[in-house]
């Protein structure tokens, strides 16, 4: 049985279990958390501007007197969703690019690979910043921009793996008995690509979250007038930082670190499942 086996391997990977636990806690905290809080805490409350963490406000308040805990919870929802959807978009683009490159072969493959190399060497952060700085920003735009600029790594992996798979006997056999390319992709390539893909995608979600928070921090991501995100909470807290209101910057950042760390730990665990040979040399 395949499923219990990989679950077993994952379970033996202690760090990955910690990561999974962390991610589950953070997701629950972000998705279900706001329901447990008093609804009034999200209102402006100018009497409690920049209140330090206390019993009433566990993590303090921001400069409009809103409860930071509530903001971080709802911010987590946004940051996690943006990271997830942007990476899914990148995965779809990367998979298509990689599979087309591998299937076409010959000079198409060479040219596509060449372009991929070039794209990988472009400092994407600059392009992202330019796109975000020109024109209005919205959540959809952030997702699109992150997705459209982070697919190159995935495409490279998919192309390499597909090339290897296309040489295997079972796919050669499938080609010989006259399967259409569509059938080969759906029935043979994609299921076998899944395991190496899941590792890069996991790490990709972490990177997308980092990118989103960085953009939002620079006021180039999710507009703080629409939804709170971990990045724009910090961006709002910047002005209060030098006067000593450390909590507005410290807590959202900690959430980012814990989330991305959890995701990366899960990625490590998955890598060990996918690639048992490496497990021997690299714990």
């Amino acid at each position: 049985m395949l499923v219990p086996e990989w679950l077993h391997t994952f379970g033996k990977h202690r760090l990955a279990c910690i990561g999974l636990f962390g991610l589950v806690v953070i997701s629950f905290f972000s998705i279900a958390g706001p329901f447990f809080l008093d609804g009034n805490t999200q209102q402006f409350n100018l009497e409690n501007m920049l209140a330090a963490p206390s019993n009433e406000y566990l993590l303090g308040t921001d400069r409009l007197g809103r409860d930071l805990l509530w903001q971080i919870m709802s911010g987590g929802r946004i940051s996690l969703w943006v990271g997830l959807i942007a990476t899914l978009l990148a995965t779809v683009i990367g998979c298509s690019y990689g599979i087309i490159s591998a299937l076409m072969g010959n000079w198409v493959d060479r040219i596509l690979l060449y372009i991929l190399d070039i794209i990988l060497a472009i400092p994407m952060l600059l392009i992202v910043i330019v796109v975000q700085a020109l024109g209005e920003s919205s959540m959809i735009k952030v997702i699109l921009v992150i997705g459209l600029t982070s697919w190159a790594n995935i495409a490279r992996l998919v192309r390499t793996e597909s090339c290897r798979l296309l040489q295997t006997t079972f796919i050669q056999a499938a080609i010989t008995i006259g399967c259409t390319p569509f059938q080969i992709i759906i029935r043979h390539l994609l299921p076998n690509l899944l395991s190496p893909l899941i590792v890069v995608v996991t790490v990709g979600v972490g990177n997308a979250i980092l990118l989103e928070t960085t953009l939002s921090f620079l006021n180039l991501g999710i507009p703080s007038t629409s939804y709170p995100s971990w990045g724009n909470i910090m961006s709002n807290g910047m002005s209060a930082l030098l006067s000593g209101s450390w909590w507005i910057v410290v807590f959202p950042g900690l959430m980012i670190v814990i989330t991305v760390l959890s995701i990366n730990l899960i990625g490590d665990g998955l890598r060990d499942i996918v690639n048992p040979v490496q497990r021997e040399s690299r714990t």
Partner: protein
């Protein structure tokens, strides 16, 4: 060997071309009418004036031709004028790029040094407490956003302890003494190194462990060579090649990270300038900086590639095929 170098330069050229094309298209597709914004609004111009200005600026020509003209100008050193202050784009960039180069250079130096040292240490002491500590720290490092760590460093070392200045390159009225520079460099460099070093340490640790299991290393060990010789002649050269390749590959990320750190620490480099002009929508400056940064990244990539060639004798012999392997 020469063929490889030639191909590599060819690739670098295309890289530059593609980046410039992307930047050009993004700026072209930005909302807003550049001609109307010159006089403050379309309603202040007659149709005849509008067409005349468009013709004079070359904006009525096909977009491919506009791109070509712009590209030729770039190669001839005419990078245009800033919209904000009317200065030459190239002059402003040249003024700022030194600060960035210093920051990246020093960060790279420390990062490579520390990553090689710490990574080797962890690799040689695999599955001991010191290895676990180093590995955990490097994992945390790659999960930390650079801007956040920068803010924490400012909070701790500038606001609370008052050891280091929070921003800038030199104090006002300074005569440019070295100590002033060093004091201002400490926090930004620490921030860049601490947030980018994680993957490098893990990579060095992994390659060191790979070498430890090879036959030639065990043979050398069995001959009773001293530990230092083993490390210097057997472990380091083999661990360094993937490391250098990786540095070349991740150089764009490092440059991007440096930009953010410059912004947080008010470092007067090209990254802070870039964020400023992006937010001010100063198109000629934006495009100039994108080109300048691409040149920087491409030079970094080329250096890494040639370093790999120099480090790894096996590649030197079969260089023409290095392009195709993955």
């Amino acid at each position: 060997m020469w063929r490889f170098i030639l191909i590599r330069f060819f690739k670098a050229f295309f890289q530059l071309l593609l980046t410039s094309l992307i930047a050009f298209l993004i700026v072209k597709s930005a909302p807003g009418d550049p001609i109307a914004s010159l006089v403050g609004g379309r309603e202040f111009m007659t149709d005849h004036d509008y067409q005349r200005v468009a013709h004079n600026l070359g904006l009525d020509r096909p977009i491919a031709l506009q791109y070509g003209t712009w590209l030729v100008n770039i190669f001839q050193g005419d990078w245009g004028h800033s919209i904000r202050d009317g200065r030459f784009v190239s002059t402003t960039i040249l003024e700022c790029i030194n600060a960035t180069l210093i920051l990246i250079g020093i960060s790279c130096f420390f990062m490579i040094g520390i990553a090689v040292f710490v990574g080797c240490w962890a690799g040689l002491r695999a599955r001991t407490n010191i290895d676990y500590i180093i590995s955990s720290l490097s994992l945390i490092s790659s999960a930390t956003p650079a801007f956040w760590l920068g803010l924490l460093l400012i909070l701790l070392f500038s606001v609370s302890l008052n050891w280091f200045p929070s921003s800038g390159q030199l104090p006002i009225g300074s005569d440019g003494a070295l100590s002033d520079y060093l004091v201002h460099l400490t926090l930004p460099v620490s921030c860049i190194v601490l947030t980018h070093i994680g993957p490098y340490i893990r990579l060095v640790r992994g390659s060191v462990q790979d070498v430890l299991t090879t036959d030639y290393y065990r043979a050398a060990q069995a001959r009773g060579l001293p530990k230092l010789v083993l490390i210097k002649n057997y472990i380091l050269p083999n661990a360094l090649t993937p490391f250098t390749v990786w540095i070349g590959l991740t150089f764009p990320l490092l440059v991007g990270g440096t930009f953010i750190v410059e912004w947080v620490f008010g470092w007067p480099g090209i990254g802070r300038l870039f964020l400023q002009v992006s937010m001010a929508r100063d198109y000629p400056m934006i495009m100039g900086i994108v080109i300048a940064t691409s040149v920087l990244v491409i030079i970094g990539n080329l250096l890494a590639d040639f370093l790999v060639l120099w480090l790894n004798p096996r590649l030197r012999r079969k260089t023409s095929s290095t392009n195709d392997n993955d």
